[in-house]
């Protein structure tokens, strides 16, 4: 494949960032917005071309004769060479998942660019302060995210991983005058940084034992009898295999180093993907502008962790312990986030917890995936859910943005009954809710169903668990929906505009995304994205997904979702005391859910009391008073000594002479005693 298009995919956002960042302030607002959007539009087109070429181009570079999809490195240039084998390269890797991401990211990003043209100005059409900066940061983020997904090696991924984190920081803190935004951005960065520390150490360990960063080399020899799935140079493949296949694999504290490495790398993913206990930044990140939440904190960046695990999936397969850990973490997170989402007032937070929960779904899906069961359907399901979730969650966020833009508040208490004022938004939001709840035929149904199938194949316990979470999902989403659009009539305050649907720049993305959410489920993902590239289905048509459904699982989950929706309808459709009564019935539970199980307080305690109070402050004190005190003490002692011996210089000749004489005698005597 020609390298121009891939290079352009990365270069255009970067160029846009530099252009808007350096000269944006001198530009008119509309120009900056248009430029950014146009740039992203170009990228969108180019990415689609690339992805479609990959999936349907039929080039032998991408698809083997037996229909197996291959990994293809489009270009790979050395960026920094550590040792002859440890090289950071910047490259462009095309394989099913990166091609998938090449569709997801530009799509959402473009929608958000477009949407922001409307969102980032007030009712009078005045652009917000820093509008150009906003677009610059969006471009930077798009660049980083694209670089992340096409990374050819784990270090390139880490680099863009960090850049993504930084641009997320900048975007969350976009309203820098607002202290809450500042602290939220700080929190997001530091928490993910902490997770990245694990990622980094994981990379260090992995690279130390394998001597390579390259994904293709790392993942080339997964399990016995399966080698040679990807085309890899013989020598390095052997190297990787040898090290990890040895029965006496290096151990560290009771686990093999590979497990350690993978768990540590997963820790990086936990940070970015907001898995418990590193999830606390994501709800706070909603302080950023809503389009940002849609782009970064719903659709793209937060799935980076999932993507990372998927990327290294063959390696994870070698140590199933690490996969089990992923399942546990994911399942707990999914349940936790769903519980919390039921008790939030801020609609963006509900969506945020919903995101956490859904990403956890993907994680679980990857974790339960085994080649033995349905050719690793969990992997496919996870990526499928990533795709569909990106679409409907972006949709939900953008809807929420539109609502917030109109209402001027994040709380549903300020909304209620908006359905009459904003019909389009209402419809879109409803589609989003149906999709996430997993109602056939919306996108979420298919992907979630397949996840549940994968769970079912793995263990019945996790299947029930995840189904329950799916039910909770449907419940809280519809609770949210009703509380925003129904519950009671909306009161229009005097002197305020009545809420209404927004201009086309904002509405169009909603409609497009809603449309995608409706049909995305029919994408034959099993044919496109599988863990080893081998398609799952022989013949593909529009209804492939439908026909291949595991209907026993699907019907159960559908039933659960519908029941949950009915409960939500009963409780929230009309204003009634039932919710309050429910809350009173389980006060403790409500409190804990409402306060997000007090995680923030715990972190607050750890950072302020332990890190600052018990480590930093004592160290600073120690430095000033002990170390520095010791240095000053030397000076003081010298000075004291100086005063102590001043009596020697008594000013009396006779004393001088006396000292002189005794000195001479001592000199003689001591030397004599010493030498004899």
């Amino acid at each position: 494949m020609d390298i121009t298009i891939p290079i352009l995919i990365l270069a255009i956002p970067l160029f846009m960032f530099l252009l808007l960042g350096l000269t944006g302030m001198k530009m008119p607002h509309w120009l900056a917005g248009t430029l950014g959007t146009a740039g992203m539009g170009t990228v969108l087109v180019l990415s689609y071309i690339t992805a479609l070429t990959y999936f349907y181009g039929g080039s032998p570079q991408f698809i083997a004769e037996n229909g197996e999809r291959l990994q293809a490195v489009i270009f790979n240039c050395t960026w920094l060479q550590f040792t002859p084998s440890l090289v950071i390269k910047l490259g462009f890797l095309l394989d099913p998942i990166s091609a998938l991401m090449l569709i997801v990211i530009p799509t959402i990003s473009f929608m958000v660019h477009l949407y922001s043209m409307g969102y980032m100005r007030d009712h009078h059409g005045v652009y917000e302060h820093g509008f150009q900066r906003f677009y610059a940061f969006l471009s930077l983020f798009s660049f980083s995210m694209l670089g992340l997904v096409v990374a050819t090696n784990i270090f390139q991924m880490y680099i863009f991983w960090e850049l993504v984190g930084a641009s997320s920081y900048l975007l969350i803190g976009f309203y820098y005058k607002k202290p809450s935004a500042v602290s939220a951005s700080k929190k997001a960065f530091i928490v993910t940084r902490f997770a990245d520390l694990g990622f980094l150490i994981g990379i260090l360990v992995l690279s130390y034992y394998t001597g390579t960063f390259d994904f293709m080399q790392l993942t080339s020899a997964p399990v016995d009898g399966m080698e040679g799935v990807y085309q890899v140079s013989e020598q390095t493949a052997l190297g990787v295999k040898n090290i990890f296949a040895q029965s006496a694999a290096p151990m560290f504290m009771g686990a093999s180093v590979l497990t350690w490495a993978l768990v540590l790398i997963f820790m990086g993913g936990m940070g970015k993907s907001a898995m418990m206990p590193l999830h606390i930044w994501l709800p706070d990140a909603m302080e950023g502008p809503t389009p940002v939440s849609a782009l970064i904190h719903a659709a793209t960046m937060v799935v980076a962790g999932v993507y990372l695990v998927a990327r290294l999936y063959p390696l994870y397969l070698m140590e199933t312990t690490s996969l089990d850990i992923i399942v546990v973490v994911g399942a707990l997170t999914a349940f936790y986030a769903a519980m919390v989402a039921c008790a939030q007032i801020d609609i963006k937070r509900v969506l945020a917890f919903s995101t956490i929960s859904q990403i956890a779904f993907m994680m679980v899906s990857l974790g339960v995936s085994r080649p033995e069961f349905h050719e690793g359907i969990g992997y496919m399901a996870g990526m499928f859910h990533l795709f569909t979730h990106a679409m409907f969650k972006a949709l939900l966020f953008l809807c929420a943005g539109a609502i917030i833009h109109v209402v001027g508040s994040n709380d549903y208490t300020a909304m209620h009954g908006l359905r009459k004022f904003m019909p389009i938004t209402n419809a879109c939001f409803l589609i989003g809710c149906l999709a996430i709840a997993g109602i056939i035929p919306f996108a979420g149904f298919f992907s979630k169903d397949e996840i549940l199938v994968a769970c079912f194949g793995h263990s019945i316990f996790w299947y029930i668990w995840m189904s329950a979470v799916a039910g909770l999902t449907a419940f809280y989403m519809f609770r949210l929906y009703y509380l925003i659009f129904w519950w009671k009539e909306h009161k229009v305050h005097e002197g305020h505009h009545a809420p209404a649907d927004q201009p086309w720049t904002m509405t169009l993305p909603l409609v497009i995304l809603a449309a995608i959410s409706c049909v995305a489920g029919f994408v034959p993902m099993g044919n496109l994205v599988t863990w080893n590239g081998v398609p799952m289905f022989e013949h593909v048509n529009f209804f492939t997904n439908l026909t291949h459904l595991n209907w026993s699982v699907a019907l159960v989950s559908l039933a659960v979702a519908i029941v949950a929706i009915i409960i939500a309808t009963v409780m929230y459709r009309k204003e009634n005391p039932l919710p309050d009564r429910m809350a009173d019935m389980f006060p403790r539970l409500w409190d804990w859910c409402h306060h997000r199980f007090y995680w923030d307080e715990l972190y607050q305690f750890i950072t302020h009391k332990i890190i600052f109070g018990c480590i930093s402050r004592p160290i600073a004190w120690f430095d000033r008073h002990i170390i520095d005190g010791a240095m000053d003490g030397l000076a003081t002692v010298t000075n004291k000594a100086s005063y102590a011996i001043r009596g020697l210089q008594s000013g009396k000749i006779q004393m001088y002479v006396w000292v002189y004489l005794i000195g001479a005698l001592l000199l003689a005597a001591v030397t004599a005693v010493c030498l004899m």
């Binding site: 550590f82 440890l86 202290p179 951005s185 530091i190 260090l204 890190i611 480590i615 600073a620 520095d628």
Partner: protein, 501 residues
């Protein structure tokens, strides 16, 4: 003698000194300072290009542009010069920082002339140090670079300057006391019995005549001697006070260049000449430097004075330099040198910005400031960039340097070293904590002080200064392999042969 390009690194500052001496007006002084430092920058960049050309043409001596002119003949002391990639990197760093420092002290008061005289004298020492390969000359230039600090801080500093200046000078000279003993000791073991003793680094290296027993004595002497300047725990306490009191350009030069003298010396003298002892004793210093790295970062978290924060951050970052040097492998050492470059540039940027902010608000207490992004967006953006460089954002220099260090250190065969590498890695999180804490309090949020609303944004000379530094930081961050190759070529395989790697 004057056909050797390196000698001009000393000649140009000396000419500048002479020029300053006859200057009458402030304009002339600035002209001399800027012209001279531009000339130095140009020279160092030319040197870089030419050096790469020579290397490409196949020159494979450990040092190029070697020249040696007898000075104290009977003692075999020469004015010996020579550079490899590391020295060139350091020369470029120094000249850039001198240039930006000159711009940053555009309005220094009082006695502008004296200020520049001392500043140039200091940089004479710095440049001389980096081009020297003769231990005596090296040491001489080293001390030349130290003493002007006293006056620069004492006269033009702020705060508790008398105390800080004295402490800084005495502690650094204390380090150089150990150093002097170590160097003389090396001299007396520089050649096998019967051969003439020498001060020349390359010859001493080639002779390999320092017995292991003596290495055990001389290595700590030299390492600690240089380590004091490299802010090694527990000899780092001069750094916070010194930097806090120093005027802008001096902080820049000191943190940016002078602290690098420590790391460079540790590598060039202690490790290069005494690898066996380095290998055996590394663990002691690894513990100390490892402590520096984490400890400095933690200390920085709770400081309230901008310069203190940055000084402790320097302790942490420079600790990483020494840490990596002690790992004794090419990658880690490359990382160390890159970290020197990177830290030099970004900390200079930091100090320049802090100076500019201080010059406007007259306080460095972050509790008294806030929302500067609104008041002086240019400076604030630069500060954010510097912060990102410091916490290791890819694309800026800090990242590549730190990563090279971590990767390199983790390649060490010994478990102890790898575990310590992980400890050092932890600093990246703590760094993020204190950097973001400052950025959040200082630049973002509401404006704290009403009076600050009238303050102006950067002037043109401030912009020149900061832009130069930012471009340099970004250049390293974006094209690291260029620098890594430049540096890597120079690690003598013989060191690694000796320690068996």
């Amino acid at each position: 003698m004057f056909s050797n390009p390196l000698i001009y690194f000393v000649v140009i500052p000396l000419v500048m000194l002479a020029g300053l001496a006859i200057c009458r007006s402030i304009g002339q002084i600035r002209a001399v300072a800027v012209t001279g430092s531009l000339a130095l920058t140009a020279l160092s960049i030319w040197l870089l290009v030419d050096y790469l050309g020579l290397r490409a043409a196949g020159a494979d001596a450990p040092m190029l542009y070697c020249g040696s002119w007898s000075w104290f003949e009977p003692l075999n002391i020469h004015l010996a010069v020579g550079v490899d990639g590391i020295s060139i990197a350091m020369l470029i760093l120094s000249s850039i920082i001198l240039l930006t420092g000159s711009f940053a002290s555009w309005k220094i008061e009082p006695n502008t002339k004296d200020f520049f005289l001392w500043l140039i004298l200091l940089s004479t020492g710095v440049f001389g140090f980096f081009i020297s390969i003769d231990l005596f000359t090296m040491f001489m230039f080293y001390e030349v670079a130290l003493i002007p600090m006293y006056l620069l801080i004492g006269v033009w500093g702020s705060g508790n300057k008398n105390y800080s200046a004295m402490k800084l000078t005495l502690m650094l000279m204390g380090g150089s006391a150990f150093l002097m003993l170590g160097l003389i000791g090396i001299f007396y073991h520089s050649a096998p019995e019967g051969m003439p003793l020498t001060w020349n680094l390359l010859e001493i290296r080639a002779n390999e005549s320092i017995s292991e027993g003596w290495q055990y004595f001389l290595f700590p002497m030299t390492f600690v001697g240089f380590g004091v300047l490299g802010a090694m725990f527990p000899f780092h306490t001069w750094s916070p006070d010194g930097h806090a009191s120093a005027p802008t350009a001096v902080s820049m030069l000191h943190a940016g260049v002078l602290m690098k003298l420590g790391g460079y010396g540790c590598f060039r003298v202690a490790i290069y000449l005494m690898p066996q002892a380095a290998n055996e004793l590394a663990w002691i210093f690894l513990i100390l430097t490892g402590i520096s790295v984490v400890y400095g970062a933690f200390s920085a978290c709770v400081q309230t004075d901008l310069k203190y924060i940055n000084a402790y951050s320097s302790v942490s970052h420079c600790g990483l330099v020494l840490f990596a040097i002690l790992m004794l492998n090419t990658t880690a050492m490359t990382g160390a040198i890159m970290q020197m470059l990177s830290h030099g540039l970004m900390t200079a940027l930091f100090f320049a910005l802090i100076g500019m902010i201080y010059g406007r608000t007259h306080t460095r207490d972050i509790r008294l400031m806030g929302g500067l992004m609104k008041i002086m967006p240019y400076l604030a953006v630069c500060y954010v960039i510097a912060g990102f460089a410091s916490l290791g954002l890819p694309g800026l220099s800090g990242f590549v340097a730190e990563m090279t260090i971590f990767i390199g250190s983790f390649q060490h065969a010994d478990m102890f070293h790898r575990v310590f590498t992980i400890v050092a890695c932890c600093s990246i999180v703590i760094t993020a904590v204190y950097i973001l804490r400052v950025v959040g309090k200082l630049l973002f949020g509401p404006v704290q002080d009403e009076h600050h609303l009238q303050l102006t944004d950067a002037t043109w000379w401030e912009r020149v200064s900061t832009v130069t530094l930012i471009v340099s930081v970004a250049a390293i961050g974006c094209f690291p392999n260029f620098f890594a190759d430049l540096i890597k070529f120079t690690f003598s395989p013989s060191i690694f042969a000796v320690i068996g790697q």
